[in-house]
């Protein structure tokens, strides 16, 4: 490593003497970082779970200190229930909850929630739908009353459906103009094919147009019911208060006689090549996404997966960012995420790079997926990435919203809530051999699906040279409703 000119040190020394500072103290400045003191202990609060007579589960976690509470009503079904040709239905249903309910129009609902200091946020993800709000403790009863009104008594007025549809369409166009967002959608389609997790949960232009009021009402009736719901309250609230508040706003919510809808198969048959290029003419960068099918959330190897992903791309110092950003300056950031769901999961590597380096980033990403299964992770690296994971976990519990998110993930998948306090020991117990075996089992090279979205004129040739099987599709010819993504009659090569 080249040293800086000595001149700088000399100037500093002279200035120190002139200013009369304690020069001797500078000579004392250690050349190595002082070692840490004894490690402190993180105390994780214990969730309390209760069930009301109508089947509603109430989970609360007490955190005093500030008068804040996060409330979330979580429903254990989401976008996987979107019927064929109606992609985006669960999301649209969630959006419409706050657009008119119990005799209140959309502006009145927004005004009430915001007068309480929060906002009602509703959305549908895979395997869950939810509506939540964070308010100060004195406003919690009113916030829950409002939350109950929108969840239980939405009116789905035709005019609001039209408005929400137009907004969803504009948001969709915006999302699809971002290379990595589009690449992630296409990669999920490549992995899940015609399975329930393969479609766009924000919908497509055609599917959004096809959704009618009756569809929304059916989805609401199927999903929003007390025996499919978990009310999560985290913050300045006791279990007794949680139960009383839940009873007050949700106690008379009737449980329907009809059984809960069965969850469809997430994984289907794929129809996309191992490497797909979507040509987005004029794109400022290329989005590169490499995807693999992964085990479900309930898999016995869940914590091994957490650690494996932490090594691959879970943080700044993880391998993908090390190779793509730190060593080569090819991206502002490269990362991975492992998303376990009810029926199967998805493991994604993501990076955005200047168009000409897209081919190089594809190969670096695939190389890192492969390395995870071909050699054990060195002990020191594994210890460092576990520490990163455990530290981030601890920090996520510092806010009421973060606490609610962690508890919500456990509740959504029926995992024992006490796992919230076991995370650290479970992560620490993972061995290099387990990580390697996990990667070998789930990352076979033939199973990877890569999608690159960008200005193909700048990287298409390089990519096809390294990957002759690559196929290219112009963005205009894209149909996200179809497992092969090709609009009927669309050209491509």
């Amino acid at each position: 490593m080249k040293r800086m000119p000595h001149r700088r040190l000399a100037v500093f020394t002279a200035a120190a003497l002139a200013a009369g500072s304690a020069f001797a103290a500078g000579a004392d400045f250690p050349a190595a970082p002082p070692p840490p003191g004894p490690a402190p202990r993180l105390s994780v609060p214990t969730p309390a779970a209760q069930t009301l007579a109508n089947g509603l589960t109430v989970v609360s976690v007490r955190r005093t200190g500030l008068p804040l509470v996060t409330a979330r009503l979580l429903l254990r079904r989401g976008a996987e229930l979107d019927p064929p040709g109606k992609a985006g239905l669960a999301a649209l249903t969630a959006t419409l909850l706050t657009r008119g309910a119990g005799g209140l129009a959309a502006p009145q609902i927004a005004a009430q929630a915001e007068a309480l200091g929060g906002s009602l946020d509703a959305n549908a993800a895979w395997d869950q739908s939810e509506i939540g709000i964070t308010v100060t403790t004195p406003r919690l009863p009113q916030a829950l009353a409002l939350l109950a009104t929108v969840a239980r008594k939405p009116d789905f007025r035709a005019e609001e459906l039209e408005r929400a549809r137009a907004q969803a369409l504009d948001e969709l166009h915006l999302a699809l103009s971002q290379p990595t967002t589009l690449a992630s959608l296409a990669a999920a389609r490549a992995v899940f094919g015609d399975g329930a997790y393969g479609h766009s949960r924000s919908g497509t232009p055609a599917s959004l147009a096809a959704i009618g009021r009756a569809d929304v009402e059916r989805m609401h009736a199927a999903v929003y019911r007390p025996d499919n719901a978990v009310l999560i309250l985290t913050g300045d609230v006791t279990p007794e208060q949680a139960r009383a508040l839940a009873q007050q706003s949700f106690g008379d919510w009737a449980r329907p006689a009809a059984p809960l809808p069965a969850a469809p198969a997430g994984q289907g048959r794929g129809a996309l090549p191992a490497l797909l290029v979507i040509d987005q003419h004029g794109a400022g960068q290329a989005g590169v996404v490499a995807a693999h099918a992964a085990p479900p959330r309930g898999d016995a190897g869940y914590y091994v997966g957490e650690v494996a992903n932490a090594v691959l791309g879970g943080s700044y110092s993880a391998r993908l960012n090390e190779e793509i950003r730190i060593k080569r300056g090819l991206s502002y950031g490269a990362s991975s995420r492992l998303d376990g769901r009810r029926d199967g999961g998805l493991w994604l590597g993501l990076a955005q790079t200047k168009n000409p380096s897209a081919a190089q980033v594809v190969d670096l990403m695939l190389g890192e997926f492969a390395r995870l299964g071909s050699a054990p992770v060195p002990e020191a690296e594994l210890a460092a990435r576990k520490a990163t994971l455990v530290g981030a976990y601890g920090r996520s519990l510092e806010t009421t919203a973060g606490l609610a998110a962690q508890v919500g993930e456990l509740a959504a998948y029926g995992v024992d809530l006490a796992e919230i306090g076991r995370y650290i020991e479970r992560v620490q117990a993972v061995t290099p051999a387990q990580v390697m075996a996990y990667a070998t089992a789930h990352l076979d090279a033939g199973g990877s699906r890569v999608v690159v979205v960008g200005d193909a004129a700048q990287f298409g040739d390089a990519l096809r040279k390294a990957h002759p099987q690559a196929q290219t599709l112009p963005q205009q010819a894209l149909d996200l409703d179809r497992p092969d993504l090709r609009a009927p009659g669309a050209a491509g090569r």
Partner: protein, 463 residues
């Protein structure tokens, strides 16, 4: 100099179920506990602010330097930000990325940011690593030692950051164009991210000169918040930072004064990837320390915070000309901006949104403001503050913002009291003075396959 604020006043006991049936308590009754901070200065000029908080076994260490993109050297736009990245490379006693070894690898996290006026470096670590990180921050303040290879590779990263935030984001070019079009004279007119050409022109010599000029104890504020022992903290700070010399050379200060606008101006930017047009309007506002900034923030919240806000209701909900709207106060140590923007809905033109943005701002400035609406906005802003204050890092950021941007750490608590006092007449006075009674810059943002040959067009003359 040293002073210690009294610890947070106890909140009144709150009875949960009691309020269920009644109306919401007014914002005035919403108590946000003050941030109890300790302040001292070292003989070499380093300011030290600390907040003891044992809620979590972690501590945040932050060093805020009074240097930002307004101090970019001539012909080197984006340099302060590029430099920030290089502070994670080698020093005399640390190899490149060792900051990550001392943070991420032991369960912590680190990051940094560059703004117009300040650059801050911050870590959260398990509290037993406090001494280690104080050493590391003192080390990179005094002993930075970047080599050519690291310089070039990190410059490439920053160029990718430029492409990601400006070129690949559909509305990146619009937001990046706001400062260049809004300031005529002040160096704020250079965007913080800079340009690829200026980044390419930067050299390792520039790095050395910049560190020597601005990275010095008398140009920095150290903020420590979280789980620590105050006596031990003071001893460590003295040991690791006390020896760093205060250079004799004065710290360069931006002296430019931004003249008042004499006419409305309009510019056009184009995008090859934005699916829909947008429009942004800006007005000049006083520096962050000015008492008029808090009522301007209340005005921005009345206009755009949440779906019940005036702009959302008018443009997104009722007329449906926009898919997204915003109004914000971008206050700085020097002149700042009041910004209003709309991203259009399908089938609408920027002129329609601009007319409605202006009409709603005028209605707020000159029409009636309901007491309940004002109370709603105060409750929103106070709740937002409480949420930020849940973590030691959140408190430290709030304190740094007050100390360096507003010029006085006491503002971290004083602003909340000032917020409670804002009345409708204050909101209307500041809007009339700085917005409806002043000249605007308008930027139309148009999706276009190929940008036109010329650059921005400007049209002088009052409207």
């Amino acid at each position: 100099m040293s002073r210690r604020l009294r610890s947070a006043a106890r909140l009144a006991a709150l009875t949960l179920l009691a309020g269920a049936a009644g109306a919401a308590a007014p914002a005035a009754e919403l108590a946000v506990p003050p941030i109890a901070y300790h302040q001292r200065s070292l003989p070499n000029g380093l300011e030290v602010l600390s907040i003891e908080d044992h809620a979590s076994p972690t501590v945040t260490v932050q060093v805020w330097y009074h240097v930002g993109s307004k101090d970019d050297p001539a012909g080197r736009s984006g340099f302060a930000h590029l430099f920030e990245h290089l502070m994670f490379k080698s020093t005399a006693h640390m190899h490149a990325e060792q900051m990550d070894r001392l943070t991420e690898d032991v369960g912590g996290a680190n990051n940094a940011s560059t703004g117009d006026d300040v650059t801050n470096y911050f870590e959260v670590i398990p509290s037993n690593y406090l001494e280690t990180l104080l050493w590391a921050e003192a080390e990179r303040m005094s002993n930075l030692n970047v080599d050519e290879a690291n310089f070039k590779s990190e410059r490439a990263v920053v160029e990718e950051e430029y492409r990601q935030s400006v070129l690949a984001q559909p509305y990146g070019k619009l937001f990046n164009a706001i400062d260049p079009h809004s300031f005529a004279v002040h160096p704020y007119k250079r965007p913080t991210i800079g340009s690829i050409e200026d980044l390419e022109a930067a050299s390792l010599d520039d790095v050395i000169a910049f560190h020597k000029t601005f990275y010095r104890p008398d140009n920095a504020t150290l903020i420590v918040a979280g789980d620590f022992d105050p006596k031990q903290l003071d001893a460590w700070v003295d040991r690791y930072f006390g020896w760093i010399p205060r250079p004799a050379a004065p710290i360069p200060q931006v002296a430019a004064t931004e003249p008042a606008r004499t006419a409305d101006r309009r510019y056009t930017e184009t995008s090859e990837t934005a699916p829909l047009p947008a429009v942004a309007l800006t007005w000049l506002i006083p520096p962050a320390k000015d008492a008029d900034v808090v009522p301007l923030q209340v005005a921005a919240a009345l206009l755009s915070q949440g779906e019940s806000s005036r702009l959302y209701q008018a443009l997104v909900y009722r007329s449906r000309v926009a898919q997204d709207v915003g109004a914000e106060v971008d206050a700085r140590t020097g002149p700042g901006l009041f910004v209003a923007y709309a991203i259009l809905a399908s089938g609408h033109r920027p002129a329609e949104a601009e007319q409605q943005l202006r009409a709603e701002i005028a209605r707020l400035a000159d029409g009636p403001v309901d007491a309940a609406e004002l109370d709603k906005v105060k409750t929103q802003l106070l709740t937002q503050e409480l949420k930020q204050r849940q973590t030691a890092q959140g408190k430290a950021f709030a304190l740094g913002q007050a100390a360096l941007i507003e010029g006085d750490p006491a503002r971290v608590n004083g602003d909340l009291a000032a917020l409670q006092r804002v009345g409708a007449a204050d909101v209307q006075r500041v809007l009339r003075r700085y917005v409806t009674g002043a000249h605007s810059v308008a930027i139309d943002y148009l999706p276009q396959a190929k940008p036109p040959a010329g650059k921005a067009t400007s049209k002088g003359g009052a409207q």
